[in-house]
Symmetry: C2
Subunit: 171 residues, 2 copies
DNA sequence: CAGTCCATGTAAGAAGTTACATGATTCT
DNA sequence: AGAATCATGTAACTTCTTACATGGACTG
């Protein structure tokens, strides 16, 4: 999956490992993110496979390794993209806590849930900011990039609603 | 997190590794699951730490290793449980696909999304079955176990709604 | 001139899965 | 009798993160 998302970004333009990390942080971090410790080795692997090629640049005294996607890389990426989407269960570990909250005094449970709702609101705000940014930048709501952000809003809103319902029910 | 959920289940009663796996499969699999390859080593680790103790039983010719939680285990578990809930971003890799769907012919994108919506419906049905089962077993809607199932329903419903909206928008 | 950002990379370790190995029991 | 389920466990592997190591450029 990491290699796929990196190839996807390289479909736009040539980029460095650092650039790729920034794109993830800005655009996909709420549903996918990676550290440099996995990005750089992945670039090396993909170069070995022939999916990308490297071009070393020096601007002034700024050194950068810019990678671009090859034809082999494009066809691999497109081949992956057209396959059916696989739904992989992801660990929502916060639910593990709440699952066992019968072992907690009800006041403590409520307090923790309220705190959690606030954290969720913060994440929601982040996604909302991404939404506004995207609207400004592309001046359209008709693209898939925008749609994934909307999904994030649906997602966070549904958990926030659930969490608040639960808190109300406890009080 | 794996150790915590196992301790949580052992708060109910003594269980074998096999039992723990079944509980996860039946009750928490949509938000947390583990394989035997991680459960059995975890049991060993937790026994070493003194959080659980093992009792080997033979019923007829059926051999089982039943683990129960110790006082140390209980206090560790409760200590973890009362801490603030941490929200960890989880990888929703299906969104990585959709994020790049501008590279796909619109008909193909729509077809894949429709297929994906069906997969989501199946997962939704599973959670709904868990919900009905829990209602029957406990005859109440007032517990946290039940609430986590409701969260699953909220969650899947929100993605299904989003997915269907997106499909409609494309057509 | 200290702190932050830009930029690349490695090594160690965490946390898990898959596949294998074993063997009894229960169901059809 | 064969298949499925019960039951435990290990070894190899995957995949990722964290922490470290390095060094130049920009900013206040």
């Amino acid at each position: 999956m990491l290699e796929n998302i990196m190839l996807g970004f390289l479909m736009q333009k040539e980029m460095s490992g650092y650039d790729l990390k920034q794109w993830m942080a800005e655009c996909t971090s709420y549903f996918f993110d990676a550290s440099f410790g996995s990005i750089y080795p992945a670039l090396k692997r993909m170069e070995d496979k022939g999916y990308i090629v490297c071009r070393e640049t020096v601007e002034g005294s700024k050194f950068k390794k810019l990678y671009s996607i090859t034809e082999a890389g494009k066809s691999y990426f497109l081949g992956w993209l057209e396959k059916p989407i696989t739904f992989t269960k992801s660990n929502h570990s916060y639910l593990v806590n709440i699952y066992f909250y019968n072992h907690l005094p009800i006041e403590k449970a409520t307090a923790n849930l309220k705190q959690f709702a606030e954290v969720l609101e913060q994440h929601m705000n982040e996604v909302n900011m991404q939404k506004e940014q995207t609207e400004k930048t592309y001046n359209t709501k008709n693209n898939f990039r925008y749609s994934t952000i909307i999904c994030g809003i649906y997602y966070f809103q549904s958990i926030i609603d659930w969490c608040n319902d639960l808190i109300k029910h406890l009080e």
